[in-house]
Symmetry: C2
DNA sequence: CCTATCATGTAATCCGTTACATGATTAT
DNA sequence: ATAATCATGTAACGGATTACATGATAGG
């Protein structure tokens, strides 16, 4: 334990999910990501194996290994891990995310705007529909969605609407700014 | 030359910039990035040294080395590079960018929404102001901005407005979706 | 039973970041 | 002249992606 490591967003995702779950295997984490934050911050499943290992070595997680069969590793957050997560959450960030949108990058370099809009619009519309479905199901269910996920979902929805407006506005418009 | 490499967005940025510039050194590229697409897709300057080298090895760029003094490397796009760029630009992408917003991630895991809004709002407002300044200056100048950069700038402005709306909407609002 | 798909995990690679380092230029 | 800053470049490291690999489960 206790080699010094740098904690990345991935680290905090693992910590945050484990804090909520109590104990989980990498595969459990994968499932959790898939149905929750994976929509706006996805991870390679391999990272959900290597990252907990890293965190455990550094003392942020404890590991319990199954004896028989697959010898699955079950992780849970230690006091140190809980503290790190708490500190991270308590520090509001002024950092801004870059767009890093591939379609926009191509347009920047001269790709055909109409063609790009034609490809992007349906994709964004599908994503929006998916989000709205999620929200609807959530509303119908227990009404138990915590604030964080609910707000994130809202951001996703508003973001998609923004993109749809953006690409719609460009389509067919020869020129303007 | 001609080892097989994978072309990443970074590769295409280098190709695109060099295609526009004709010939440039890594430092020139750095300057170009800083004043243009760096706003929505920034790069570490070290990549502007390693990436051209990679591309040159694979035959996408040619390199001319200064004899005296600093022995700067000047790169330019080869036919192969031009072709790769052309193909990439011609293929509209349906890929969607994830938000990957750090502030949102923290909120997802339970960070205080008001505090986060208080940190994010001024940052987004500053960025928006910067973009609008850019647009204004551009309008006053030659009127020569090409379509791609102009559209990207528009995306940046609309994006920032969206975020400002989002965080404003959350501030002070106890609960809703 | 066989095979296709899903569950689960490990290994290798590589891109991107960080750190370091030195030459040029400007300011005091 | 000397310090400070900018210009320019290289090296090392590490996290993220990709590729590979095997155990379980279900369908035909």
């Amino acid at each position: 334990m206790s080699s010094e490591i740098r904690l990345t967003p991935t680290s905090y995702i693992v910590l945050g999910l484990l804090e909520a779950a109590g104990e989980a295997t990498p595969y459990d984490l994968k499932q959790m990501v898939a149905i929750s934050l994976g929509n706006f911050w996805s991870l390679q499943h391999a990272q959900l194996y290597t990252e907990p290992e890293r965190l455990a070595e550094a003392g942020y997680l404890s590991e319990r290994r199954e004896e028989g069969g697959r010898r699955r590793r079950h992780y849970s957050v230690t006091a140190r891990g809980r503290e790190a997560l708490r500190e991270w959450l308590a520090k509001p960030t002024a950092e801004l995310t870059e767009l890093r949108d591939l379609a926009l990058l191509k347009v920047f370099f001269g790709a055909d705007v109409n063609a790009m809009a034609a490809a992007q619009l349906p994709a964004h519309e599908a994503k929006l529909a998916e989000y709205e479905e999620l929200r609807k199901n959530a509303a119908e269910a227990a009404g138990e969605i915590p604030e964080g996920p609910r707000i994130s979902l809202r951001a996703g929805i508003e973001g998609e609407r923004g993109w749809i407006e953006f690409w719609s506005g460009l389509r067919g418009e020869a020129d303007s700014d």
